[in-house]
């Protein structure tokens, strides 16, 4: 695999994201970041490296937070950065979407999750019956049943909610998932489950995933390629196994050292910073703030 691919399905080029004023120090300065269909790209880096900002910028969601974005992001040949909001909105959900960091806070708490799921499907042109059918099929694929649609978010565990999110993405036939630390709020079992589901999604729909995480061990077991971000720059972008076994950059080595369970194991290891007991997925649900690395994308200046 080579780093320079002009014809990549998704291609970021000379992307600069600044918060505050248009001449501020850029938070993100990605010269090149390609992603092909069916590809899993891991985006690694420490907190504040700009991982979340890159993800949100692809979705076109940073501008509202007051960010100034320059450069080019092309998806299937179409420039996203200059696309009118109206068209971009149609792409969100149907072509690309976000798998949230903390599923417990990513669902509207006053609505049953089914309302969120069905309305979103209807929004993207499904008939009532079609939406129902697709939602049921999607839920079945992730090991849930249509009965879960009637539950409110607080009645489901974090792992279940994340599976609902993936079921929705699958029902929408979304082709690009921006998975922003989708497992960091989950326990080990749920984490492995989510990773498996994402892999299945690729096999079935050819979904590409931009998997954001600071956990190289997790990424190594899941992704085709890993790009390491440091202070907004891509400092290393290579095939996953190559990168973890023979890292070039010092920062990559530091990140690897921070994941002591790696040691050549291809399986995602337990990595929850907060160290709660397995099984109690909901404990994390209490933490309803984004983490600091998410905050840099969401809150702006």
């Amino acid at each position: 695999m080579v780093s320079a691919r002009d014809a990549a399905w998704l291609q970021l080029r000379d992307v600069r994201v600044r918060f505050g004023s248009s001449d501020a120090e850029p938070v993100v300065r990605v010269d090149e970041l390609p992603l092909d269909e069916r590809e899993f790209l891991g985006l690694a880096g420490e907190s504040g490296a700009g991982k979340t900002t890159v993800g949100l910028t692809v979705l076109g969601l940073t501008r509202r937070a007051g960010a100034h974005v320059r450069g080019s992001i092309r998806l299937a040949g179409e420039e996203l950065l200059s696309m009118p909001e109206r068209r971009l909105r149609r792409l969100r959900g149907s072509t690309m979407t976000l798998i949230p960091q903390n599923p417990a806070t990513a669902f509207n708490p006053v609505l049953p999750v089914g309302v969120t799921v069905l309305r979103t499907l209807r929004l993207h042109g499904c008939s009532r019956a079609e939406a129902r059918g697709r939602a049921a099929a999607g839920l079945e694929r992730v090991g849930l049943s249509a009965a879960h649609l009637d539950r409110h978010p607080h009645q489901l565990s974090g792992g279940q909610l994340q599976r609902v999110a993936i079921a929705l993405a699958s029902a929408l036939r979304t082709r690009l998932l921006i998975a922003d630390e989708p497992t960091s709020a989950l326990d080990v079992t749920a984490q492995a489950q989510i990773c498996t589901l994402l892999t299945q999604l690729r096999a079935e729909h050819g979904t590409a995933v931009l998997f954001i995480s600071h956990d190289l061990a997790l990424l190594a077991g899941l992704c085709d390629r890993i790009a390491v971000l440091h202070r907004g720059r891509v400092i290393e972008d290579r095939p996953a196994t190559e990168l973890v076994t023979a890292p070039h950059a010092d920062r990559t080595r530091q990140l690897l050292a921070a994941a002591p369970r790696l040691r050549g194991l291809p399986v995602p290891g337990p990595r929850d910073r907060r160290g709660e007991e397995p099984g109690d997925e909901n404990r994390e649900a209490r933490d309803d703030g984004y983490d600091e690395e998410a905050a840099d994308g969401a809150s702006g200046p």
Binding site: R92, T105, A106, F107, T120, A298
Partner: protein, 284 residues
């Protein structure tokens, strides 16, 4: 109040709902319930001036010989209606302005909030007094005057609440799923931002009733012979030392209704206060 047990909560709920229901019924059925419906507006009966409470006239008669009981019943159609109207209209205006300001932020927020500040900068009661004086005296003028002073508080509240909801991940998720501003606002922001507002509004009805009665007492509300409670208290002043029933019963009505409103507000607060919403960790 918060520490009250489940039983106490139940009693308050029953009392508040029962009281509110009774007030609504009285207002609706005043013509049926009042023994002398024609006394509500006029019809001086010189034969029965200033009679003390009796079997024929439970609350006595006033200086024009009108039945005070009938007039107090009819009063439920004025003060409480004004109070509810003021809160409702303020709620709508305040919500629209607050939600737009909080959601879109930037210059829209600045513009709307500075406008709100202008209204907040003038002492509320003074503004209401001035407006009520300028506008045609009567229930409508009173409602307008109070609404103008009341909505900015709701706008502020909603704006703050909205701004905090907008930052939550599920709103970002809405955008990531391709929802437009209108849908996001109406279906996702508003329902999550409205709880404190409803609590505030339900508590406010009683307060507005007191202020409305106060303005009415000053002669800035409904005019004679309207059977408004505040106005009745005002008109009883000259007779108060000798004929206590003229002012006491309308005054008691104001107190009772305001009390029920406060109780209702309290019940709503206990039930819907955000701090009472089950946390996500408490699995149902």
């Amino acid at each position: 109040m918060r520490a009250r047990g489940a039983r106490g909560g139940r009693t308050a709920l029953v009392l508040a709902l029962g009281g509110a229901g009774a007030i609504v019924l009285v207002a609706l059925l005043a013509p049926v319930l009042a023994p002398y419906p024609e006394d509500a507006t006029g019809a001086a009966e010189t034969a029965q001036l200033l009679r003390p409470p009796s079997a024929a006239h439970w609350f006595g008669t006033d200086e024009l010989g009108r039945d005070v009981f009938s007039r107090v019943l009819y009063g439920a159609r004025i003060g409480p209606v004004v109070a509810v109207a003021v809160v409702t209209v303020s709620l709508v205006v305040g919500t629209v302005i607050g939600v737009v300001a909080g959601y879109f932020g930037g210059w829209i927020d600045e513009l709307l909030m500075r406008l709100t500040d202008v209204f907040l900068a003038v002492p509320a009661l003074l503004l209401a007094l001035a407006l009520a004086t300028v506008l045609a005296p009567g229930p409508v003028g009173l409602t307008v005057a109070l609404t103008v002073t009341w909505w900015p508080w709701y706008a502020r509240l909603v704006r703050g609440e909205t701004a905090s909801v907008v930052g939550r991940p599920y709103i970002e998720a809405c955008r990531a799923l391709g929802l437009g501003h209108r849908r996001t606002l109406v279906r996702h922001v508003l329902p999550n931002a409205s709880t404190p507002l409803l609590v505030q509004a339900s508590t406010d009805v009683g307060g507005v009733l007191l202020v409305a009665s106060g303005l009415s007492f000053l002669g800035l509300g409904p005019q004679p012979p309207t059977p408004d409670w505040g106005l009745m208290v005002e008109q009883s002043q000259n007779y108060f030392t000798t004929h206590w029933w003229l002012g006491t019963f309308p005054g008691a009505a104001i107190m009772l209704v305001a009390g029920v409103c406060f109780l209702l507000g309290d019940v709503v607060r206990d039930r819907f206060d955000p701090r009472h919403v089950p946390r996500p960790t408490q699995r149902a």
